[in-house]
């Protein structure tokens, strides 16, 4: 079969010693960049791009792509260990991952994250190899109206992150949406809620909010509680148990598929995929109350999703020359620098390059797995440090990250301000994850709604002509109303049985 021989050619191209070496360097750099909050994969690739220009194009692209998916692995480590998501796509991992770490189970949490990422990577690479053109067509059917519906579905998922009080969770989701409105509106060019501050014209970046609400707030609340003993762990607890694996298997598969689909779509991406797959697992679980208190599935599913989304983002990038995410946009720039023209003809004109690159994803994910499994217990032992040493270190990491977002002190002040807000949110039981979900989806929601409105001449009737959008809306409706309906049916059934028994 032609496809098969192309795949083999790809592996041959990717498996040269040079390419292997640069793949290794790429994923290692990605891991380090991921560890630092604030330094995301797009920035990382942009910074290192000039250093690769003396390399062969395939070698350079293998390394740059390695940085991209390596970041997803690295970002998990700081999320789990010190509640500091290195990237927006690992915010959800923080919820259960950090709880596991506090229970002395950071080792297994990191191990399952690495395994989930690897397995989901495998699933999504297979999808990418076999069905990329099909999915590319699917992505094109996904216009602004479908994006509105998808974001609605994502926002409906906020309910999954509300913790103990639904009202508080929804309030926090709304806060995130409100924060998203600050800055110049891309549709009209009008500045909103900037109070004459130039810094606010660019909006409030989600990275500074994440660093503040998670890292800074966590340190403040631990300090105010008077710290505690460092986490003592037995060696047995550091290893993945059979039970952990049994629980995580299916979430990994589901997360991988959800992640790949959302990764293919421009705009939505890894963050939404991680939130949605967490929500799916919580709903499917027989014991949803364990989520938020250290459920292994709560780490496995989002980690599978965000890594699969990275591979999904390459579908439109390689088949159409349209970036599937911010980082792939920078990578497309790299193609141009090497004299390669991204677009529909790329696969035809440069089969060895494209297949070699895809094959390298598989190799890179394998390297990352081999790298992360033995390192998981090593990283986890950081938590044995006394808090007087650990907290200053976390704060340092957080503020360097906040500075690095835009190379200015403004980010640090924002992170500090949101740290104070986050401290009070923790104290009064307001969950932080919905804020991030609202903030990230808010801009996308508004933009796609305005585009849809222009397309439909201001009428909502346009949704009726879009079956995919209608299906997504129906799903969102089911999520919101489902529990009420179920309860109603149960109550009716209960009455009926009671009557029969009388």
């Amino acid at each position: 079969m032609e496809l098969w021989s192309q795949i083999i050619d790809g592996f041959q191209a990717a498996l040269t010693p040079t390419n292997l070496a640069y793949c290794f360097i790429g994923v290692l750099l990605g891991t380090v960049i991921g560890l630092l909050p604030g330094l995301g994969s797009a920035t990382g690739v942009a910074i290192l791009l000039p250093l690769t220009l003396m390399l062969d194009p395939l070698t350079a692209l293998i390394m740059l792509a390695g940085i991209y998916y390596g970041t997803q692995y690295g970002a998990t480590i700081s999320s789990v260990l010190v509640s500091t998501p290195g990237d927006s796509a690992t915010v959800v991992t923080t919820i259960d991952g950090y709880q596991l770490a506090r229970q002395g189970r950071a080792g297994p949490a990191l191990a399952i994250a690495a395994i989930a990422s690897f397995l989901a990577g495998t699933i999504s690479i297979l999808l990418l190899m076999t069905l990329a053109p099909v999915f590319a067509g699917f992505a094109l059917n996904f216009g602004p109206p479908e994006t509105v519906a998808l974001v609605t579905l994502g926002l409906a998922g906020v309910i999954g992150f509300t913790g103990t009080s639904r009202a508080k969770g929804l309030a926090m989701g709304a806060l995130g949406l409100a924060i998203a409105t600050v800055g110049i509106d891309a549709q009209t060019g009008i500045a909103r809620f900037t109070f004459g501050q130039v810094e606010l014209l660019g909006g409030i970046g989600f990275l500074a909010v994440i660093i503040g609400l998670f890292a800074v707030a966590e340190v403040m609340s631990q300090v105010s509680r008077g710290g505690g003993e460092p986490i003592r762990t037995r060696f047995r607890d550091m290893l993945l148990s059979r039970e952990d694996w049994r629980r995580s298997r299916m979430p990994i598969v589901r997360g991988g598929i959800v992640g790949f689909f959302l990764g293919v779509l421009p705009g939505a991406g890894a963050t939404l995929a991680s939130f949605l797959s967490y929500d799916i697992e919580r709903r499917l679980s027989k014991r949803p109350e364990r989520f938020g208190k250290g459920a292994m599935e709560g780490v496995a599913a989002p980690e599978a999703a965000n890594n699969a989304a990275v591979n999904g983002a390459f579908v439109p990038t390689l088949t159409l020359g349209i970036p599937g995410s911010g980082t792939t946009a920078v990578l497309l720039g790299a193609f141009l620098l090497f004299g390669l023209q991204p677009g529909p003809l790329l696969l035809e004109q440069q089969p060895e390059l494209v297949w070699g690159l895809i094959a390298s994803f598989y190799i890179g994910n394998l390297i990352l797995l081999l790298l992360n499994l033995p390192l998981a217990p090593a990283f986890a032992s950081i938590l044995r440090l006394r808090y007087t040493l650990l907290y200053p270190f976390i704060l340092l990491l957080a503020f360097i990250g906040a500075y690095a977002i835009e190379n200015r002190l403004w980010g640090v002040w924002m992170a500090f301000a949101f740290g104070v807000i986050g401290y009070f949110m923790k104290r009064y039981g307001y969950p932080a994850a919905p804020v991030i979900l609202g903030l990230i989806l808010g801009g996308l929601f508004e933009q796609s709604l305005e585009q849809t409105s222009s397309m439909g001449g201001g009428s909502f009737a346009i949704f009726l002509e879009r079956p995919i959008a209608l299906a997504l809306f129906a799903l969102a409706g089911l999520i919101i109303l489902g529990p009420f309906v179920a309860r109603g049916v149960k109550a009716l059934a209960g009455k009926a049985t009671a009557r029969v028994q009388q």
Binding site: V198, I322, Q341, E406, S454
Partner: protein, 334 residues
């Protein structure tokens, strides 16, 4: 090979960026001065910063990096660090340059946003607060349709717009695409329904997916689709046709009876209030780069039009440019 030189320069650039990232704003201590030209009245005494007011990967970023590498090429010993200070459609970067008033070690890769922002948004700056050193290129917009679209020429599109709703995809509410669309509407007395996207990539996807009818795109954003035959370019909004064979067949809007030739400048700004000697140092250096091979490569690879204006001529051009923008954005931007 001719590419080697520019690659080496890019390599050097990368080192500079890394340095500036990790030194976290510490003043860099390299105090090497470059060799002067003619007895040298002024030359940089330390590392220079090239501000790029947009994210890595976009046209502005490429411009900033190309100019930085070019200046280093013609002034050996000069060290320029590229810094992306994005946000607020460019406002953050321009405001940062405003703070550097009087310091000749700060440059900025400038395009339409520098003139358009103060018109549409309340900003603390105006382009006259800076030193416009030189324009080095022009960016033109193509009107693009899908291969199977009913339109074969611009007049057919105009006619359709007169009869029904025609959806046009543009990038940014105050960008080049929007301005060209408005000028076309004014010239022809028709109206288009605008769908605003964030980037050219999204517009390409929307056009391929059938969400919009026509699109305004830069050649670099759509060349892959044009070559694959998935899309057709009906006109280019510029004075003259492109020279390269790939795009030479595309007629200008004027040829098709629409009098719109508006293009976007790309050029170099320095901080405001610098001395005439400092200004002419940058002007001479950038004009010298415009004579080199690496400049030609920059123009070719990015499908730009080579157009150079310096000093008074550039300022006059910007003044006229502003008047045009005020006419277009002043009414719709509110």
């Amino acid at each position: 090979m001719e590419e080697l030189l520019s690659r080496r320069d890019f390599l050097k650039r990368g080192g500079g960026v890394l340095l500036s990232m990790y030194a976290l704003g510490l003043a860099s201590c390299g105090g090497r001065a470059s060799e002067g030209e003619d007895g040298a009245e002024w030359e940089p005494s330390r590392s220079v910063v090239m501000i790029v007011p947009f994210d890595p990967g976009g046209g502005s970023d490429i411009l900033g990096r190309a100019m930085a590498a070019g200046l280093e090429e013609v002034r050996p010993g000069l060290n320029i660090n590229v810094e992306n200070r994005s946000g607020g459609s460019g406002a953050v970067g321009y405001s940062y340059l405003l703070e550097q008033r009087g310091d000749p070690h700060f440059l900025l890769a400038s395009e339409t946003a520098g003139v358009a922002l103060p018109i549409t948004t309340e900003t603390p700056f105006h382009w006259t607060d800076y030193t416009p050193v030189a324009q080095i290129a022009e960016d033109a917009t193509l009107l693009v349709v899908r291969q199977d679209a009913p339109y074969q020429s611009l007049p057919e599109v105009i006619e359709a717009a007169g009869a029904e709703r025609v959806l046009v995809g543009v990038a940014g509410a105050t960008g080049l695409d929007t301005i060209v669309t408005s000028l076309m509407e004014e010239d022809q007395g028709v109206e288009f329904e605008r769908v605003v996207f964030e980037s050219g990539g999204e517009i390409v996807a929307a056009l391929l997916g059938g969400d919009i009818d026509i699109a305004m795109l830069n050649p670099g954003e759509v060349i892959g689709q044009l070559e694959a035959g998935d899309m057709r370019a009906l006109v280019v909004f510029a004075d003259e046709r492109y020279e390269g064979e790939q795009l030479a067949d595309i007629p200008t809007a004027q040829e098709e009876g629409v009098d719109v030739t508006f293009t976007q400048y790309r050029g170099l700004f320095a901080a405001g209030d610098i001395s005439p000697e400092e200004r002419s140092y940058w002007e001479e250096a950038i004009l010298e780069w415009a004579e080199t091979q690496s400049y030609d490569e920059y123009i070719e690879r990015n499908y730009l039009i080579s157009e150079i204006r310096a000093g008074q001529e550039f300022e006059e051009y910007l003044r006229e440019y502003e008047t045009t923008l005020e006419g277009v954005l002043g009414e719709s931007g509110g």
